[in-house]
């Protein structure tokens, strides 16, 4: 594996191209932000609805840059012992038990408590060295020789204390461990944070990041995404499918279908080897992209109308392309 920054992006277009080569279709905005993040060495904070490819972007970047992807999933109650490091207490204890004999050997000839302690001291903080350190994602990311892509997923789920703790990592790429001192990154990782906006992030965190909002893609972009992700799909079906999904998104739904659901649905249709969308087909497969009972009820009422509209738009898109 080569180092992170041996890779060079020449321009925004280059980013877009290379993303496409690993099957990630990046909009101009995404590409620009990535290009900047890479050159400014700043973290990216990505917001947007679930399933529009926030996490996917990190995966794509690690593939392009050919470095490891280290992922840290945030949740309520996540603290530094799970994110940064932990002492392997069990191992420490086991070693002291096993080394009892060695210890008494070592202590042989020592007169009194003071001398014994003196002698132990000369052997360093053996038990608080890196041998007994359990590295967690953040520590690993800083320790990586070749750099890495660090994905801090769903940061909004973590607590505010943890968010504050992250600040040092994000701005200076270093962490302080009381027993070992400050550890700086060997190679600055490319950091990507994602948030589903369940709560507002603090200003301090936002200031340290580039902000990127990924909305639902427009029809053209979504077609491109489908083309690379589900290549077997026929042209007409793809156009109809995208137009249909786009109109579903205009409905008043609890959870709108996002790109990942579109892809799922496309795969299902491919399996069923469908050529065209029909009312029955849509009704039977509605549950692949709508995940709530109420949503399915709302959508199934309007299938016929939306399908007609989708066909029209698909034809229009076709005509425009031709």
């Amino acid at each position: 594996m080569k180092s992170l920054y041996e890779h060079r992006f020449n321009s925004v277009d280059a980013v877009q191209r290379e993303c496409a080569s690993v099957k990630y279709i990046a909009s101009r905005q995404i590409a620009t932000t990535v290009y900047l993040a890479f050159n400014l060495q700043k973290p990216i904070l990505i917001e947007g609805p679930a399933g529009v490819g926030k996490t996917e972007l990190a995966k794509a970047m690690s593939e392009i840059l050919q470095v490891q992807l280290i992922r840290m999933q945030c949740y309520e109650g996540l603290d530094e012992s799970k994110a940064l490091y932990e002492w392997k207490y069990g191992k420490q204890l086991l070693y002291t038990q096993l080394l009892k004999d060695k210890l008494s050997e070592l202590m042989e000839g020592a007169k009194g408590l003071a001398q014994s302690i003196e002698r132990l001291h000369s052997h360093d903080d053996l038990f608080f060295s890196e041998h007994f350190l359990e590295p967690r994602p953040l520590f690993k990311a800083l320790h990586e020789d070749t750099g890495c892509v660090l994905l801090i997923d769903e940061i909004d789920k973590s607590d505010q204390e943890f968010e504050a703790f992250l600040l040092e990592v994000l701005s200076d790429f270093q962490v302080s461990i009381p027993e070992l001192g400050t550890i700086s990154a060997r190679v600055k990782p490319l950091v990507i944070l994602t948030s589903n906006n369940t709560r507002e992030m603090s200003d301090a965190l936002k200031r340290r990041c580039l902000h990127l909002y990924i909305p639902f893609p427009d029809a053209k972009l979504e077609r491109q995404i489908l083309e690379t992700r589900v290549p077997g799909l026929s042209d007409t079906l793809r156009r109809e499918l995208v137009a249909f999904i786009q109109s579903v998104r205009t409905l008043d739904l609890k959870k709108q279908p996002s790109v990942s659901e579109t892809i799922d649905w496309a795969r299902v249709l491919l399996l069923l080897s469908a050529e065209h969308l029909s009312v029955d087909l849509v009704r039977d497969t509605l549950n692949t992209f709508l995940k709530f009972e109420e949503d399915i009820a709302v959508a199934s009422e309007q299938i016929v109308g939306m399908l007609d509209k989708a066909r029209e738009e698909a034809a229009l898109a076709h005509a425009r392309n031709a």
Binding site: R28, E80, K206, H211
Partner: protein
């Protein structure tokens, strides 16, 4: 480019988007990396560094479009009316902007100071030739010279229009027109010049209006907010309701953040020794597994009761507004409204947008004939069993009871059972206890009693509340 960027920051700040110094530096670095060749890339690059949320981004995009648009003097340039003009123009105008930055600052002197024939001739020529680039350049320079970015209020418009025109050489143009006026041979030229002068005025006015929209929005808004905050809630008009909602929301959010702390907090480094010993009996007393002390933080339950009767009609909307905002941010809050009998409105607040919800409650619950006694009897019957030492009871009302039975002993019971009883009264403290006000009777049974009839009061009360609640944790 530096100055343009600084002006742009100023415009952003004017549109109520904070640009800190570090943001500015980052934006500068971003700019130097991506360059100005591609408008969209530039937009995204600046957007990524300057906008910090989706809302910011919307403001940013609008501001970007306004700031980097150069449609001025275009209507007149009828000759270049090919459909591609727009795209060409945007890139072109950026070049113009660019050149203007790099060009030595001589133009300014020529236009303004050098006066005499040169300036007038220059301006007249530009106008007659319809030299769009030169006109924009001249106008921008004049604008910078008179400091148009400091414009705050619409009353300053006329002044700035005049100043910019003068800076561009209006005086000389006038002289030129006057000089030619007597000359019959130059009649056509005079008409043309007069027309051009007219157009110049229009364009400059257009320009200044745009500048005002860009730089003046936030200061005016801030001033308005300040006014709203210190005004009595009863005096605030209906049309400010939306704005008030935003301000109140911010307040409520701050309160909610304190309550949204996680339930358990591990106090790292403090061993729970008893638990550890007990669990490790299996390992012969060797302490393999450790247990750490945790601190349990309870999420407060809130019961909010709001008076919506005739006597507080003017305040009720805002009290409800505040209540609504609280329900948005807190999970365990139950809201009630009453004129005489207690009505639960939690569901209404959950289901409807703010305006509708408030209207509905006002219509269905509001009325005359306040009866605090009845309300307290309802509280005793229906709610007392739900109130325990984790509950905060928040009462919003003026305690004007129409000389009815006050039922103060229910208040005493509340005080004993609940964690906190807070009473916010919209009347000034001096009026408490006068007439049919029972406030003096209720007040001793509250943990916190506050007069609350402006947003500032509300804010201060919130601060007190937060201090108490953090201390209580």
């Amino acid at each position: 480019m530096q100055e343009t960027l600084e002006d742009f920051f100023k415009a952003l700040r004017g549109s109520d988007l904070d640009v800190s110094l570090t943001d500015g530096i980052e934006a500068g670095r971003a700019l130097s990396i991506v360059g100005v060749a591609d408008r969209e890339v530039l937009r995204h690059a600046l957007g990524a560094t300057l906008a910090k949320s989706l809302d910011d981004r919307i403001v940013f995009d609008a501001c970007f479009d306004r700031f980097f648009s150069y449609d001025l003097f275009r209507k007149a340039s009828g000759r270049t009316n090919d459909p591609n003009a727009m795209e060409v123009k945007t890139s072109e105008s950026q070049d113009v902007r660019h050149e203007e930055e790099s060009a030595p600052r001589v133009g300014k002197g020529q236009c303004a100071g050098a006066g005499g024939g040169g300036g007038a001739q220059g301006l007249a020529d530009m106008l007659l030739k319809n030299d769009q680039a030169a006109l924009i350049k001249s106008m921008n320079e004049a604008a910078r010279q008179v400091g148009v970015t400091d414009i705050w209020f619409f009353t300053q418009k006329g002044q700035y229009i005049q100043k910019i025109q003068e800076q561009m050489g209006l005086k000389d143009l006038n002289q030129l027109i006057n000089g030619l006026a007597g000359n019959p041979q130059a009649a056509g030229r005079v008409t043309n010049l007069k027309l051009a002068r007219r157009r110049l005025f229009e364009e400059v006015r257009n320009f200044v209006e745009k500048q005002l929209a860009m730089y003046g929005t936030a200061p005016t808004k801030r001033l308005h907010d300040e006014y709203l905050q210190s005004q009595k809630l009863s005096n605030i008009e209906q049309r400010d309701f939306q704005r008030m909602h935003e301000i109140v929301r911010k307040l409520a959010k701050r309160l909610a953040v304190i309550h949204s702390k996680k339930k358990k907090q591990e106090t790292r480094g403090q061993l729970d020794f008893r638990k550890t010993m007990r669990r490790n009996v299996a390992f012969d007393g060797v302490l393999f597994e450790t247990y750490w002390r945790t601190k349990v933080i309870e999420r407060a339950k809130v019961i909010a009761i709001c008076d919506v009767s005739g006597s507080v009609r003017n305040y009720a909307r805002f009290l409800l507004l505040f209540l609504y905002s609280l329900t948005e941010f807190m999970a365990k809050i139950r809201s009630f409204a009453f004129t005489n009998t207690l009505v639960e409105v939690t569901d209404v607040f959950d289901d409807m947008p703010v305006n509708q919800a408030v209207d509905k409650v006002m219509k269905e619950v509001g009325g005359s004939g306040t009866d605090y006694g009845q309300m307290f009897r309802d509280v005793e019957d229906r709610l007392m069993s739900k109130i325990d030492k984790r509950t905060t009871v928040l009462i919003l009302g003026d305690a004007r009871n129409n000389h009815g039975e006050p039922q103060a002993d229910v208040m005493r019971l509340l005080h004993q059972r609940a964690k906190r009883v807070i009473w916010l009264n919209p009347e000034p403290r001096a009026f408490w206890g006068l007439g049919d006000s029972e406030m003096k009777r209720y007040a001793p049974h509250c943990h916190i009693v506050k007069e609350c009839n402006t947003l500032k009061h509300l804010e201060r009360t919130m601060d007190d509340l937060l201090r108490v609640s953090t201390a209580a944790v």
